[in-house]
């Protein structure tokens, strides 16, 4: 059963491991590459919309105007997606850091429990965890006299933060383990306590290595926020679907869904690039 851990890290999605700067030299290459990607997407987009136009010759209201009409509503939904992603990330990171530190605890039982939880939440499908949270969390939490209501959106945030937690825990554990044991030993020989070593020596070094996979996880989470549409929370995906029903025109399917894809791309692609940049910079320093 060790199989769930070991060298295979982040089964949720792979950290964006890109080639070293050899092929397309560093920054210039990256910029070039970026513009190329956009160019291709624009080409693809126009080709597809031409195809869509052609497929429904007696066009009613223009496709562009109709898309434009729904744009504000869908954009507001998209903003909600971003909000959910930020909240889930904060919550998931906080829990994940605890769980990650639990995995290097000196108590075997804490270690084992943390490890098990980490594996469980990393390996369960996001959508199932989301269903899990939506259906099985109570509508309110009573802690002593305090009543904390759990509305649907909050449950969704919790549901999405569960896999985030598992993955952050793994990132934290991996980051800490990547620091050579020599650092621990030399600090110990200088009479630092375990806590001091961890917080003053190991974690400051490890954080740098954790940031790129953490950002990568954030991008994945942002894309996963569309799953809340499946459990009945209104997001950009739900609204796109609603707009399509309202219009009931097959020629709108392509441009509207493509617009939604582009919204996410416009948000996630820069994050991916930034992640890559940081990864390279840290790799050079390391």
């Amino acid at each position: 059963m060790r199989t769930l851990s070991g060298t295979t890290d982040l089964p949720v999605l792979l950290p964006r491991r890109m080639p070293s700067a050899t092929e397309w030299g560093a920054a210039d290459g990256a910029r070039f590459f970026g513009s190329r990607t956009w160019l291709f997407l624009l080409l693809a987009m126009s080709a597809l919309s031409v195809a869509a136009q052609a497929s429904d010759a007696p066009a009613r209201a223009g496709i562009v105007e109709t898309v434009w009409k729904w744009m504000p509503l869908i954009s507001s939904g998209f903003l909600f997606n971003l909000l959910v992603s930020a909240a889930s990330m904060v919550l998931g990171t906080a829990l994940g850091v605890l769980l990650g530190l639990g995995q290097i605890s000196l108590h075997p039982s804490v270690r084992k429990a943390s490890w098990t939880l980490t594996q469980f939440f990393r390996n369960a499908p996001w959508l199932v965890l989301l269903f899990f949270a939506m259906f099985l969390l109570p509508f309110e939490l009573r802690i002593g006299g305090l009543v904390i209501p759990l509305p649907a959106w909050l449950k969704a945030i919790i549901g999405l933060s569960l896999p985030v937690m598992g993955n952050v825990a793994e990132i934290v554990r991996g980051g800490i383990r990547s620091i050579p044991t020599g650092q621990w030993e030399s600090a110990e020989s200088l009479a630092f306590s375990r806590m001091q070593i961890l917080w003053q020596i190991i974690i400051p070094q490890a954080v740098k290595r954790m940031i790129p996979p953490w950002m990568n996880l954030y991008a994945i989470l942002t894309m996963a926020t569309t799953l809340i549409s499946v459990v009945g929370i209104q997001d950009a995906m739900t609204l796109t679907r609603g707009a399509l029903v309202a219009e009931a025109r097959t020629d709108l399917y392509l441009p509207l869904y493509f617009m939604l894809l582009l919204m996410f791309f416009a948000y996630c692609y820069p994050i991916a690039r930034l992640t890559l940049m940081l990864e390279r910079r840290f790799a050079v320093n390391a």
Partner: protein, 248 residues
């Protein structure tokens, strides 16, 4: 089977833990069909995504910049957009653009059905990741090793086949394993377009029997087991391919 069924029937009556999949034949067959569909869908997509990954990685090694840029755009687009929207995009939008075919009732139906689109969509999604994985694997093979092959008279194709690929594959295997695990988890999204996979089957059962809690645990554990089996297989494979004294 009978005592098992009896036990679960008792469990439902006495404790309200209603696992119909163990005693109701309709629900059991629904669940097993879902399980089978998930496994089958996963295997087909794993195979196709590896194929896409290899093809993409080979094209990225080409000299002409246009196919390279096309592959790169494909990879970036599929990696940076939500797989759920991709699936909807294919099933609703792209499907409407394709020519219709006439079924045996004389009605025009789409060329590709929801299962077909799920396969295409997930394979492309995971394939985009595989392209990057294989490419980084190929790039991890030292240039000097390739040169040595060249000096021994290997052509480009033969060097790929006998030296670069076997080495690159070993480097890729852990990352590939992760991505395939992820692919299996992604198959749950097919629920959104009505593909009768595991989540769909479970949702049908719980919306009729109203045993959400029980089905939720069953679902979670089933997926964990499927993933564990896949990880185990990948691990064994990795071990079988390990070269003494060589760390990838």
């Amino acid at each position: 089977m009978q005592p098992v069924a009896e036990f679960f029937r008792w469990l439902a009556d006495a404790h309200g833990i209603n696992l119909t999949i163990f005693y109701d034949s309709v629900d059991r067959s629904r669940f097993l069909t879902g399980l089978f569909t998930t496994i089958w869908l996963s295997i087909v997509c794993i195979f196709l995504s590896i194929l896409i990954g290899l093809t993409g990685a080979l094209i990225q090694g080409a000299h002409s910049p246009i196919p390279r840029a096309a592959v790169r755009s494909f990879v970036q687009f599929f990696r940076n957009t939500p797989p759920l929207v991709q699936l909807a995009f294919f099933y609703f939008a792209v499907s409407a653009l394709l020519p219709m075919v006439t079924d045996r009732h004389g009605v025009k139906v789409p060329l590709i059905d929801n299962v077909g689109w799920a396969i295409i969509s997930f394979s492309l999604f995971a394939g985009a990741f595989n392209v990057e994985i294989f490419r980084s694997g190929i790039e991890a093979v030292p240039k000097s090793t390739i040169e040595a092959a060249e000096a021994l008279g290997y052509t480009r194709v033969k060097a790929y086949l006998y030296i670069i690929m076997p080495l690159a594959f070993r480097v890729c295997l852990p990352a590939l394993g992760n991505n395939l695990v992820n692919l299996v988890k992604t198959t749950t999204l097919a629920y959104a377009i009505g593909v009768p996979e595991l989540l769909y089957a479970a949702a049908q059962i719980w919306s009729e029997v109203l045993n959400v809690r029980e089905m939720m645990w069953v679902l979670l554990f089933t997926y964990i087991i499927i993933v564990a089996v896949l990880v185990f297989v990948m691990h064994r494979w990795e071990r079988a391919l390990r070269i003494p004294g060589y760390s990838a």
